[in-house]
Amino acid sequence: MRNLRLLLKRNRIWVGVAVLAAIFSNLSQMIYTYYVGELANRIVGRTMIGLAFLAVLGGFLVSNAVTQFLNQYFGRFAAEKMAHSLRMGYATRLLRKATNDREGLSVSSAMSVAQNELAQADAYLGNTFFDVFGMAFTGILATIFLLLQDILLTLTLLLPTVLILVYVRFSSRKLSGIVSSTQTEKARMNQVVYSAVSAFPAVKVFDGEALCKGAFRKRLLAWEGHATKNGRWHALYNTLSGILSRVPLLLLLLVGGYMVIRENIQIGTLIVFLNLQKSLTLSIMNLPSWLSGFQVFTTNLSRVEIE
């Protein structure tokens, strides 16, 4: 985390601009959604839709798209600037070591860090870091916005989503174990191929084709057993996840429907919830995978010495 703090600090202006752009973009989207809800109310209530209202709606339609562009642009730019600082920090540190004590310094370890930990942290910064923080912002701001619209309906949406989050966490743990054993078997099978190719002249000279085929078949079947299990568990868990992810929407329609009938809310408010429901549930449901990805990123980052 020390390195991440350092990178954020070094690029604080661009990070600040990116955060502001993310806030503006989310606010713009929410205000736009609010006006879409208003439009729905006017359609249902057969009220006149005036030019002034349309102009405001059009304005927010444009601002929503433009702020989303700025959000993406500045978010990525800040992340790329951080990646640049990381690369330069590593090179500077390496140069200092190479020109001073040179203790524990070797080309292979310097290249290995650059090609693995640094490359992975660099790719994460450039491609994922911004998305994770963008979605986190969306999750937080959308929750606040929806709470301001209606507390009960927001809880109707949030509580089942949190339960799904627990399920996703559990299933991803279970699946990662199965995936790992399948990968181990695959590595063994690939090892047979590697050996056969490497020792090809010996296989030919000593007539070892049958032996190779037997060894390969054995490994192939072992991998197949694991891969079949892996495929079936994936089918089961993803299906359950698909069913569960529909529950918040169904509950929203059920509770929201009652509230509209009892005139606690207008239909436009329900439309606002329906429009924001997907981004909110997605950001919550993706939390475990973000956290594990972020953990891998910080581990990689901590292995890169920077200045």
């Binding site: 349309l54 993406q72 690369r87 090179a91 660099d122």
Partner: protein, 322 residues
């Protein structure tokens, strides 16, 4: 599907099995879209008509339909699809391995050991990924079925609104997914090359550290490393700028289409559009169309990358038949 992949499937005797699997899996997205659109329509209509008694019944029936639909998908996935996938791996890997063993030493030496290993391992994975992995051929087929059938439903529901949706969608899709996104791989490649240049500096920094110290070369060294690093930043930002622009276009066209449908639908209310609930259903199908178009576009680039593996696999299989 690419003819080379078809040839591979046919040579492995899995073509028919694969077609059956495709037929069984392809309607899933569309059926899910129908379920989602009807669910929204029913609930909104009930709310509008103040019919509280029907709310709960609807909830349970749509939950049941969801379970049945996803259950169907899981059954097909876990039985037919996984089995076909495994058979594909088993037959293709065995065939390639036996082909490799049947080569003479001279034939083997036409390719490096690394090349053979890549063809026998990761290229098989790529070929399988092309067929069944997410955001590849299977997903694209499912998305195409969804696109076509959603279009048909939307056209039946309201031809004028369908036309409006199409008129908004096509130019923006063309601008975003076809013109803008196409350039991204070029910038990505350049960024990768710049990253390779950056990494290549690590070795001389370590090896020539003493000379850099004595001849005070730290500044020029860091200057050159920075040039490479800035080149990575520049190329990546070119790609990001296009992604951001494409997202602007998508959001604008998505929202514009949605609003247009709501406003046009409002003017047709009571005649060509029954009520707000039906209008919402229409917008759902439009959303499905847009989603499918995006999915097809995303699948294209991944399929292209995986096809390179299939081509190399076919080369080895062709060697045997010669």
């Amino acid at each position: 599907m690419d003819r080379r992949v078809v040839r591979i499937l046919k040579s492995l005797g899995l073509w028919k099995r694969f077609v059956v699997m495709l037929i069984l899996r392809s309607p899933f997205d569309f059926l899910n879209a129908v379920l989602g659109a009807n669910m929204l329509e029913r609930f909104l209509r009930i709310a509008q008509q103040q019919d509280a008694q029907n709310l709960q019944r609807n909830f349970w029936s749509f939950l049941l339909f969801t379970v049945l639909l996803f259950g169907y998908n899981a059954t097909i996935w876990a039985t037919v699809s996984v089995r076909a996938d495994m058979l594909f791996h088993e037959r293709l890997r065995t065939r390639l391995f036996e082909t490799m063993l049947s080569q003479t030493q001279q034939e083997m030496e036409e390719r490096s050991a690394g090349d053979w290993i890549t063809r026998l391992n990761s290229d098989v994975d790529k070929t399988a990924n092309y067929l069944t992995e997410p955001i590849n051929f299977m997903h694209r087929s499912i998305a195409i079925v969804n696109l076509v059938l959603s279009s048909v439903v939307l056209m039946i529901l309201n031809a004028k609104l369908y036309l409006a949706a199409i008129l908004v969608m096509i130019p923006f899709f063309f601008l975003g997914a076809v013109i803008v996104i196409r350039k991204i791989p070029t910038y990505r490649k350049k960024a990768q090359e710049a990253f390779a240049t950056y990494v290549s500096w690590m070795e001389p920094i370590v090896n020539a550290g003493e000379a850099i110290r004595i001849f005070d070369g730290g500044q020029i060294t860091l200057q050159k490393v920075e040039e490479a690093s800035k080149e990575i930043l520049r190329e990546n930002m070119r790609a990001h700028r296009l992604t951001a622009f494409s997202s602007l276009v998508n959001i604008f066209s998505g929202n514009l289409g949605y609003l247009l449908l709501l406003l046009m639908g409002n003017s047709m209310m009571g005649s060509e559009v029954r009520d707000f609930a039906q209008l919402s259903k229409i917008t759902q199908y439009r959303g499905e169309m847009m989603r499918s178009v995006m999915c097809v576009s995303n699948c294209q680039s991944r399929m292209k990358a995986n096809l390179s593996g299939a081509i190399r696999v076919e080369e080895v299989l062709g060697k045997k038949s010669q």
